[in-house]
């Protein structure tokens, strides 16, 4: 009983990684979404630094909101391409017809999106530190944990809605309209955690409930997406 289950899990993970590596390879060859996303994120950071000219203290106070605004907007450009990439040559049909579960396909795409989003964020964070004169590395590893959890939430919801909107003509508009309202609890928790961490406060005390909310958001939406994606892909 345990051996077939283990074999099934290994096959599931292997297929997910195959899809993830295919997506990453395709994106790294064209750099369509990555270039647009990095450029967009840097432009927002630059424009905000010109627009507000805040002091160091004020910057730290708005850092969580500012960073997650940039991550969410720039992330939409990557997430939009996730399933849209499969439309050319009807590649999605070949994947749906293949013996790969919708959940494995979804997880593979989500992992590739996570890697791309994290790459954009890792470019943004040092630029944010320089433009806004903020020593953002005071709580480096706790901040990385929050960035990872928040980005996973954004990736899961965004990848799911990328699958749902892939056949819509206005998908570039529809994706952010659908994703951002659903992301509110996750983004709220990420913002509430990021601001104190950038200010050097340790990840403890009254920050823990926000961390729990962020983890719960990730777990719930990951489970929902894995359960529902097959229905979304085959209509």
């Amino acid at each position: 009983m345990a051996v077939p289950a283990l074999r099934g899990s290994v096959r599931f993970l292997r297929q997910s990684l195959t899809i993830a590596s295919k997506d990453l390879r395709s994106e790294l060859r064209t750099k369509e979404a990555l270039n647009a996303s990095v450029a967009f994120a840097l432009v927002i950071l630059l424009l905000f630094s010109f627009a507000f000219e805040p002091t160091e203290v004020e910057t730290r106070q708005i850092s969580g909101g500012l960073l997650w605004l940039v991550f969410a907007f720039a992330g939409a450009l990557i997430l939009n391409r996730s399933f849209a990439r499969e439309l050319a040559n009807d590649c999605l049909d070949a994947l749906v017809a293949a013996p790969i579960s919708g959940a494995a396909l979804f997880l593979g795409k989500a992992l590739a999106n996570l890697a791309l989003l994290l790459a954009v964020e890792l470019v943004c964070l040092p630029v944010f530190g320089v433009f806004y004169n903020v020593p953002w590395t005071l709580q480096f590893w706790p901040l990385m944990l929050v960035v990872l959890l928040g980005t996973w939430g954004l990736t899961v919801v965004g990848t799911m809605f990328s699958a749902l909107t892939v056949n819509l003509r206005l998908r570039e508009l529809m994706l952010p309209m659908l994703v951002y309202p659903i992301m509110v609890p996750g983004l709220l928790a990420a913002v509430q955690l990021t601001t104190p961490l950038v200010m050097g406060q340790p990840l403890a005390g009254d920050l823990i409930p926000w961390l729990r909310l962020l983890i719960a958001f990730d777990v719930i939406f990951t489970a929902l997406a894995l359960a529902l994606v097959e229905t979304v892909l085959v209509r």
Binding site: K22, N89, D90, C91, A94, P99, V234
Partner: protein
């Protein structure tokens, strides 16, 4: 048990019935030519058999399992309207990718072998976006046959093929039939389809107007079937 069984299939797009109570079976080693005018429901039916769409009513089984079942997807090879290949990947990478997805024991060997069989070995590492239309179609054929499926579902496979690709596809399909595989082929190119087919099914406005063996008179006069069973 017949490898393809379609029973009482209806498909509605909104209020419009694209398929109305369609039912047929295809025997092992048979080639069913699915014929009909534009909009008759051929592509919709093939998509449902391939597990790419769900029927509103009715059932479809492939090799004894529901068409979305993992086991049946292993035994289906689909060649649709699009080539279903990634432009940013090389010919080898595309076939290797699908070999891995289908869980082949040796995906690299299978990819290399099919590149040779389709005459694409010399452009193994060339990106698909740099290929001519004929080369892309040959690679699409290789992708569909890569995992040695026992049921082949082909939607307009001869469209936009050059002479070489048509000859290649016909050879592969004849080999597949000789090997006991089952083929369902939807096409407007009656001469090519009827030359291969052992059976025909004619769809008229989503309804199955005729199903049966392909006869000699159909082969001699490709318009015979439409005149006798189709709409005027």
């Amino acid at each position: 048990m017949n490898p393809v069984q379609v029973a009482g299939v209806w498909k509605f797009y909104g209020d419009f019935p694209a398929l109305r109570d369609v039912g047929f079976e295809v025997q092992p080693g048979a080639c069913m030519a699915l014929l009909g005018r534009n909009g008759a429901g051929k592509t919709t039916l093939l998509r449902i058999v391939a597990g790419l769409a769900r029927p509103t009513r009715g059932s479809v089984s492939v090799c004894g399992a529901e068409s979305r079942d993992r086991a049946s997807r292993h035994s289906i090879g689909v060649l649709g309207h699009g080539i279903s290949l990634y432009d940013e990947l090389s010919a080898f990478e595309n076939l290797h990718l699908f070999g891995r997805i289908y869980g082949l024991a040796e995906p690299k060997r299978a990819a290399t072998e099919w590149l040779e069989r389709t005459g694409l070995a010399r452009v193994r590492d060339g990106l698909v976006r740099e290929f001519s239309r004929g080369m892309r179609q040959r690679l699409a054929v290789a992708r569909a046959f890569l995992h040695e499926p026992s049921v082949l579902l082909l939607d307009e496979p001869f469209t936009a093929l050059d002479d070489r690709a048509i000859a290649l596809l016909q050879t592969l399909l004849r080999d597949a039939l000789a090997g006991g595989r089952t083929i369902v082929i939807s096409t407007h190119q009656l001469r090519e389809a009827l030359a291969l087919a052992t059976h025909v099914a004619l769809l008229v406005r989503g309804r199955l107007a005729h199903t049966g063996e392909r006869t000699a008179e159909m082969l001699e006069d490709t318009g015979w079937l439409y005149r006798h069973y189709g709409e005027a």
